[in-house]
Each structure stands twice: as C-alpha cells, then as structure tokens.
C-alpha cells in the first residue's frame, strides 16, 4: 500500500448566503475537492499546485486529519487521518505558511522544548535534531528571541524546525516560501532537498512559486476546480505545453496583427506582438516571412516555460 492513498476524495462545504439584500438565506454547497485520486510513495517529493481556490489547502487539511472528507477513501501511513488524528500527528509534520505552530510570546527555544515534551522526543534525539536544523536553517541567533519579534522568514524557519523535531515520515508544506526573499527561498529549498536525501522524508508541497517546484519536485500534481488535471513528472508537464513556442516581434511602428503562414498572433501591445507556432516547426521561415513584410526592430524566441504550461492547463480546465 502507498504511504498516501487517496481515492475519489471529496469535500463539500455548506455555506449559507444572504440574498435579496439579506432578507433570505440560501444554502449553497461548495465542492472544494472532488474525484481526487492519487498515491504517493515513501521518499517522493511532490509539488501540489493549482490556482487560488483550487482546493490545495483543503486537501492538505484532510491529509493531516484536521478536516473530515465528505466522501471517498483516504489513508496516510495506513491510518484514517481524521479518526486517528493524534496517532498520525506523531508521524507527520505540517507547516502552514500562513499560520504558526509556535508560541507567540515564548522564545523559539521554549516552543521547541514544549514540542519535545508533547511528542515525547528522546532528549538525545531532540538535541541532535535541534542542533542540526538550527545549523542548517541558520537560526542560532534567534533561539532566545520571542516569536513575535521574529521576521517572517525567521518565523518560517522556526516553524519548519518545529515540524521536523519529531522525525516525521511525511512533511506537508502549504506555501512555505510565501513572503520569503530570494536568498531565504534558496536556502530553504536546499534544506528540504537535503532532508529528503538524508532521511527519505516524503515531501508534499503546495506553492505558487514554480521555482520551488523546479528546484524540488520530481513529480507534480496539478489541481484545478477541486480535481487533478495533471499528475506526472515535471518534464512531462513541460512537454504538455511544449507544443508551442513564441516569437516576440518588435516592430518599428504599431501595426495591426501580423499575418504570416505557420504562426498566429496571441497578443499585441503597441509595436510589440507575440506569435505562437508549433514547437517542432523551424522558426526560420516564420522570421523570414515577418521580416519580408514588416519593418522589424527586434526579434526573439521564447521557449515554453512551466508557468505558461500551467496557465494553459488552468484555462483549458484539464488535459
């Protein structure tokens, strides 16, 4: 059996909404997640991506047991998360980028020590882990600072340490790099990669930063409107949208959309136009045709990038 086993998972929310200027209340159902099926094996690093409101956080909450599914089958490490929430808590770590598990008024060190007691981490193990994470995440100078005085990035690193002290098999990260600067993001990614390599920790990470995915994940799960629209390795996702490349043309003067055989104009912005053409086709005849009929100031060719692929996926609503 897989470490994480999700079959036809569903979560609907009942929301009550006022209509007629507040005189009437109607009951609405929001399907946050539906028909979601996937399996994750030990040691995988999976990127879980999708547009706002796609159902990522809802899924993570169900995986951690703090939200009960309304339908489908869900097992994590053989346990039913919502029923065995506390037993599962000892085997997983969770970081919600927008929330903190640390105690606001206590120094970082005190939060860690409370967690040690809470999870009954053997002292030697605790000291070794703390030492290592503090070193790797560069938190030594912050250990005695109350959490409320930490910067966002420092707090996030504190939260990640807190989530890992009890050696969880699975680490869920819901937007861990949100609000971090480039250097901190880089260091965090490096840390997560090392964690996975050294300890085989399974990583499930949601993010809107595709560089996180590129740097970390061998596998990508794309969710949109509550259901998976892509599940596979990153190169396969790139190949999906790899069907087109883009020729960016800067004309000397503004002009109506360029008409040349083999390419279509996707966007016009002043004198600049974007033409897309099949990735396997050669750019040379298209460039020649454009140059023959228009006054061109500059030309460049864009390879398909993952962001575009995903934007494409979202707008098509599936593969």
């Amino acid at each position: 059996m897989s470490l994480i086993d999700v079959r036809d998972l569903e979560r609907t929310f009942v929301v009550r909404r006022k209509v007629d200027g507040g005189r009437r209340r109607v009951r609405d159902e929001v399907r946050a997640v539906h028909d979601l099926t996937f399996a994750i094996e030990p040691g995988e690093m999976v990127g879980y991506i999708g547009p706002n409101g796609a159902g990522k956080s809802t899924t993570i909450k169900m995986l951690t047991g703090i939200l009960v599914p309304t339908g489908g089958h869900l097992r994590v490490a053989g346990l039913d998360p919502s029923r065995d929430r506390v037993a599962l808590a000892r085997r997983i770590g969770v970081v919600f980028g927008q929330r903190t598990t640390l105690w606001w008024d206590l120094p970082l060190r005190d939060s860690f020590e409370l967690l040690q007691k809470m999870y009954r981490i053997p002292p030697a193990r605790f000291r070794a882990n703390l030492e290592r994470f503090v070193e790797l995440l560069d938190l030594r100078d912050q250990l005695d600072t109350p959490v409320r005085q930490l910067s966002l990035g420092q707090r996030m690193r504190g939260d990640i340490t807190a989530a890992l002290l009890h050696d969880p098999e699975i680490l869920y990260l819901d937007e861990p790099t949100i609000g971090l600067d480039v250097v901190s993001k880089g260091r965090l990614r490096e840390f997560l990669r090392a964690l996975n390599a050294e300890r085989g920790t399974t990583l499930v990470l949601t993010t809107h930063d595709l560089q996180d995915i590129e740097a970390l994940c061998d596998r990508v799960l794309v969710i949109d409107h509550g259901t998976a629209v892509f599940d596979g390795p990153l190169p396969a996702l790139q190949a999906q949208g790899g069907s087109t490349r883009t020729l960016v043309v800067d004309l000397v003067d503004e002009a109506p959309a360029i008409e040349v055989p083999g390419a279509v104009v996707r966007r016009v912005e002043g004198p600049r136009q974007w033409l897309s053409f099949p990735a396997e086709a050669s750019a040379a005849p298209i460039v020649a045709a454009v140059a023959a009929s228009y006054d061109v100031a500059d030309l460049s060719i864009q390879e398909p990038d993952i962001e575009e692929v995903i934007r494409d996926l979202y707008s098509r609503g599936g593969v």
Partner: protein, 265 residues
C-alpha cells in the same frame, strides 16, 4: 512533565511584564485603601453586618484585591490566547496535537496564576498588613484550607473563562461575552460587596453560583468562618463546580472540534 513545562513557561512569560506588574500592585493597593475606609464606615454603622466584624471586613477587602488578578476575575488570562487562536484559525493546528486543549490551557493558566499570586496577590497584602489591622488565618487548618481553596478558585474561574473564549468558535470574537461574564463575576463573586451582605433569596442564589468560589469561599476559609466539616463542604462546593464546568468545557470543545473538523469552521 509536559504540563509542568507549560505552567513554567506561562509563569516566565508573565514575569516579563514587570512595569505592568508594579503598576498593578500599586492600583490594587490604592483600591484596597479606598475600599477599606468605605467598609470601615459601613461597619461603624452596623458592627456585625453579615456576621463579619470590622477587622473581618477589612481583611476581606485585601483578600479580594489579592485574589483579583490571581483568579483573573475580569476574564482574560491565558484563555485570551485561545480566543485569539480561534479567531485567526490557528486553533485548527492545536487540534491535531497529541495533547488536549483544556489541559493545555489549564496548565498555562495555573502558571499565570502562580505568578500573579506571588506579585499581585502578595504585594498589596503586604501594604494592607502595614496600613490596616488585618486578620491572619485562624490556624494551620484555615491556612491549608485557604491554599487549597485558592487553587480551586483559579480552576473554577479558568473553566468559565475557557467557555467564554470558546464562544469565539461560533461568534468569531469573545469580547461581547467576555464583558458580560466579567460583569457577572464582579457582582456574584463578592468583589463589589461580600456575598454575606446580599439579602434573602439573592444571597442564597449568589452563594450557590460558581462565582461564589472566586472570593467568598476562600475568604471565609481564611477568616475561619468554615471549620471542620464545614470547611470540607466549602471546598466540596468548589470541586462540584469544577466537575460540572470542566464537563461543559469538554462538551463545548467537542462541539467546536466537530464544527471545525467536520463542517470546516
């Protein structure tokens, strides 16, 4: 042990607010002096009001000032943290920890209470002792009884504050309920006026409500009004309310967990 660690952390955390502590001791002392003179005038009119003599009355005033913060009469204390975590949704994370919320916050509140007792409790009492004629516990039984009763008073008050904070699960914000509950507490704890002075049915009612455990019960034990079996009965009264209210806390928490985990907040 986890709970001891939680209590120690809370103690330490409150001890960082030094200026607030000193200002608080000052305020408690000023109110103690004002109330003392008011009570003395009252007992001058009626020297045996409520079965207290003037020394009892003044002692009662200073006990009230000492207990005020220790039991967090107005509400607040560590349960304010809980209300805040409910409001922000962080409480969802607390729910998946391998430790219950009631025990967690109770331990934390006992740590807070210990700090407030040592500072805001003992501080004004020293002033009271110097300025006024105050009665000390009648004997070792009264002293021990008072100590137990004080801890029980904190727990009773905690359960009510926990319930108030839990209202945020449904109302998003505890402040309305907190103000209301604080008003009840001030009136029915005997903070404004000893419950022994409440007439007829109002007195009977007030003495049966949980708020009587806050000040009236520990004060009467201190003053030696309860001895022997009566003292045990007074402590039993507090324990009774703890059992009932802790039951309510667990029931409410179960309902709240259902709401968060099943309905999704």
């Amino acid at each position: 042990m986890l709970y001891v660690a939680i209590a120690t952390r809370a103690f330490r955390r409150y001890s960082t607010y030094r200026a607030a502590t000193i200002a608080g001791i000052f305020t408690n002392s000023v109110f103690g002096v004002i109330y003392s003179y008011a009570y003395l005038a009252l007992w001058d009119e009626n020297p045996t009001a409520g079965g207290y003599d003037a020394t009892d009355a003044v002692t009662y005033v200073w006990l009230g000032q000492a207990l005020l913060m220790t039991i967090a009469l107005w509400g607040g204390g560590t349960t304010d943290d809980l209300a805040e975590r409910i409001r922000t949704g962080d409480v969802a994370i607390d729910l998946y920890r391998p430790v219950g919320l009631v025990g967690w916050y109770l331990a934390s509140d006992l740590g807070r209470a210990a700090y407030h007792f040592l500072t805001r409790g003992i501080g004004p009492t020293v002033i009271g002792l110097v300025v006024f004629d105050i009665r000390l516990p009648a004997g070792p039984a009264a002293a021990a009884g008072f100590a137990v009763s004080l801890v029980l008073a904190v727990v009773v008050s905690f359960t009510i504050r926990f319930l108030v904070a839990s209202s945020a699960f449904w109302l998003l914000d505890q402040s309305g309920v907190k103000v209301m509950s604080g008003a009840f507490a001030i009136f029915f704890s005997g903070m404004m006026l000893p419950l022994v002075l409440f007439p007829g049915w109002l007195g009977t009612l007030a003495n049966a409500l949980p708020w009587a455990s806050y000040i009236q019960v520990p004060a009467d034990i201190w003053l030696g009004k309860h001895t022997g079996g009566d003292l045990l009965a007074a402590l039993g009264f507090q324990v009774f309310w703890i059992v009932v209210l802790l039951g309510c806390c667990h029931a409410v928490l179960r309902a709240a967990t259902r709401k968060v985990v099943v309905q999704g907040g």
